[in-house]
Amino acid sequence: MRLELEKRAEHSTAMALLSPVIALALTLVSGAILFAALGENPAEALYVFFIEPLTASWSLQELVVKATPLILIGVGLAVCYLSNTWNIGGEGQFTAGALAGSVLPILFPDFQTPFTLPLMLLMGIAGGMAWAAIPAFLKVRFGTNEILTSLMLVYIALLLLDWLVRGPWRDPDGYNFPESRIFSDAASLPALADGRMHVGAIFALIAVAALAVVLMKSLKGFEIRVLGQAPRAGRFAGFSQNKMVWFAFLLSGGLAGLAGISEVSGSINQLTPVISPGYGFTAIIVAFLGRLNPIGILFSGLLLALSYLGGEAAQVALGISDKTTRVFQGMLLFYVLACDTLILYRIRLGGPAATGKGA
């Protein structure tokens, strides 16, 4: 007997929904094996990693704080991937947005008006868009591979941030620490409830709702899917591939930029050399795990936020490196992509018996 893949006639909707669930289950099983190999009790370790963070109010708030940028970036990336545009540089656009939005509170700390915050947000969005415009331009104009250009721009943005907070933007009263000055209240996103949760979460919800409607109901959403699945048919429909590249990059860049400035002004309140634990990259997993569907991304964003919290908890409680977070995220992406094969193919047990059945 052997396993074989047989192409399905149509794609399976059930499998499209089941695939992330199967992937999650496989990740948990692999995780349990991993913990066991590390000499931990697997059940306890998984509890610490995935359940405990959900038991306290502060950690639930923390979950939302971490899910916010993942979701904002993830829904933008979903539009890219659906339209067959491969923006891998969410992290760079996130950083560029944070930098652009921080110009006001850092260089003009005395500009404290009701307009400060909206202006900052707009500048953040513009920063992310500008950063994303570079690979879009290179692709449309010269046919450059956007995977490479958008990825390389991540490192440029990260180094730019590093240089700024160590150099020109360092807090003059900061005892030479590589940090910018702390944002004034007028430049800080208001908190929700009384904890760390901030208004950025609402932006994420709005983005999810808006994109869900656009993708499922609008002609634009149709255009995105057609160009992604069959570029030639897209051209026949009168849709422009180049315009779509611009649209996808600017939209995802803008959302990543919004995530960047929201994180900085809502959660960190200053610029530091590291402002993200890799949200822009994790958002790629979020997008795929969420079926490139905004509603799905809402859930997968929360799940991957949980993996960050779980990693921290495991480090504290079990003394395991918080790199386990990355391992879990990696396994999850790996399994989702593998399980996605089942959407278009079914597994068949091949063997002599297969056609031997009577007529």
Partner: protein, 526 residues
């Protein structure tokens, strides 16, 4: 004609000799609610060209995919040279000596001809050696091919050659061909028949699916006819007429076309003025100074051998490629720089040659595929930027009924339709708009006799209502059946369109070969 039960031996016609190569007994295959094959039995003998006939959706492709291991049957057995076998994959079929040329090609567009062929062969063949063998086989069988060419740049006719050569390279005992000639020119088809004759004389068996009954009569030794998934008759096609074969397939007589009286010449609705465009790829053809007027009320056909600029001309007409502003005129308005959407709004409609991936998105439902070309043409499919799904569903139902598009369940994805049914859909989608100008490339590729008559009649009716219809086709029978005037395209240049009555096959043949060029514009004299 003799109706048989699956176990009966064929009763009429020539004595069938030759060793039995492959026997299928009681094969069944179900797709959802549709029984695509219902206890089908079939015997294929060495040295025999065996025709498999049936209307669109009868289950022919399904059956041969099962024989080739590409689909698993729900029941029944296969016997290869008397031994029961399981053919679980195409690789296993190839090992037994079964080769196949698919209806929808399975080629990787970004790869070269040689690379595509290498993928189907056992590993370890050197590319240089392979290229040499491709050249040799393609020369031997008269199927010229450049192993270095990139598939994306090649027209459909040549792509099919690749599939045939790929198949021949494996020296198969049985070759299955799913509608091989539907995209070939008469000359190419004749060449293929020589190849087939040679193969059968070498003891090869051939299973041949075609909707062209004349050619079936001419070359096939035996025929099995399917309807609604069942074998309903076997016969010797040489003893039948095309009409009697068609009747067997459809179950009723196929109507002759009604061309009606030729209307008075209307206004020019589509005009090309010195349309030129450079080749846009290493294997594409430059369009050179094409002039053409199509008037309301008439059908003009462009004949030509595949790869002489038909695809390029189509793209320039549709607006997928732009040209000089005045070079394309729709109802007297310059449209050369208008987008395809603007041209559609101006009343034009287009049907490309390649239905999957160009005319339709394989993974989208039919209702969504209607939105593909009609989102901006005032059909109420899009309101305020939002797609009206109910309206799309209504249109889908209407098309399904008016054009007899059959599928296994409602509003299926385009890729699940049989070839002919999808063709009916992509044509119906445009005809349903009653466009003022219709440009269609290969209107009846892979469509059964009944449906082809339906489509041709619709084209005629559309023109008689005052629309200008331009048909690009390689099927001369079709052209003579429907065209009022005929032009011939050869290497990107087009002859003047002349009245169909004044055209003969010989003359078209000469023009196809570009023979007029030496005569100092003698074609313009007609």
């Amino acid at each position: 004609m003799t109706a048989t039960t699956p176990t009966d031996p064929p009763a009429t016609g020539r004595e069938r000799q030759g060793e039995i190569l492959l026997e299928a007994r009681g094969i069944s295959k179900r797709f959802g609610e549709v029984l695509a094959n219902d206890t089908v039995s079939l015997t294929l003998r060495a040295g025999e060209i065996h025709a498999l006939l049936g209307e669109n959706g009868a289950g022919k492709s399904t059956l041969v995919k099962i024989l080739y291991g590409a689909l698993e049957p729900n029941g029944g057995t296969l016997h290869w040279q008397g031994r029961e076998v399981t053919i679980a994959s195409p690789a296993e079929a190839r090992q037994l000596g079964i080769g196949m040329v698919f209806q929808h090609f399975s080629l990787f567009e970004a790869l070269t001809v040689a690379e595509n062929i290498a993928l189907a062969l056992p590993k370890g063949t050197g590319m240089r050696e392979l290229s040499a063998r491709i050249r040799e086989v393609s020369r031997d069988y008269g199927l010229t091919l450049d192993p270095e060419a990139i598939v994306a740049d090649l027209p459909v006719g040549i792509r099919q050659r690749i599939e045939i050569v790929r198949c021949l390279l494996q020296e198969p005992r049985l070759i299955i061909m799913d509608e091989p000639t539907s995209v070939l020119t008469p000359q190419e088809a004749d060449q293929l028949f020589l190849t087939l004759e040679r193969l059968t004389s070498e003891g090869c068996a051939i299973l041949y699916i075609s909707h062209r009954l004349e050619e079936v009569k001419r070359i096939c030794h035996h025929a099995t006819v399917m309807r609604h998934g069942k074998v309903i008759a076997e016969c010797d096609p040489a003893q039948e007429t095309a009409a009697s074969l068609a009747r067997m397939m459809v179950g009723s007589a196929v109507h002759d076309l009604d061309r009606g009286p030729r209307p008075e010449a209307g206004a020019v609705r589509l005009e090309l003025r010195g349309l030129s465009a450079p080749a846009d790829g290493p294997f594409s053809v430059a369009i050179d100074n094409v002039d053409l007027k199509v008037r309301g009320g008439e059908i003009v056909a462009i004949a030509g051998i595949a790869g002489n600029g038909q695809g390029e001309l189509f793209n320039l007409l549709s607006g997928e490629r732009l040209s000089a502003p005045d070079a394309v005129q729709i109802d007297g308005q310059s449209a050369g720089r208008s987008s395809i959407t603007a041209r559609r709004r101006a009343g034009a409609a287009f049907v490309p040659e390649e239905r999957l991936g160009h005319g339709a998105v394989p993974g989208l439902r039919l209702s969504e595929n209607i939105v593909l070309t009609r989102h901006s043409t005032g059909d109420g499919l899009v309101r305020g930027g939002f797609v009206d799904r109910d309206r799309a569903g209504q249109l889908e139902q209407r098309l399904k009924n008016n054009f007899d598009v059959r599928m296994s369940h409602d509003d299926a994805e385009a890729r699940a339709l049989s070839g002919g049914n999808l063709q009916k859909f992509v044509i119906g989608r445009e005809l349903d708009r009653r466009p003022g100008v219709l440009v269609v490339n290969q209107p009846t590729w892979g469509v059964d006799a009944g449906a082809a008559a339906l489509i041709r009649q619709e084209l005629i009716d559309l023109s008689r209502q005052g629309s200008a219809v331009l048909v690009i086709s390689q099927d001369l029978d079709e052209i003579f059946e429907i065209a009022d005037r005929i032009a011939v395209i050869s290497r990107g240049r087009m002859s003047d369109a002349e009245p169909a009555e004044a055209m003969t096959r010989e003359r078209i043949g000469l023009l196809m070969g570009g023979m007029d060029e030496g005569q100092g514009g003698a074609t313009h004299a007609a």
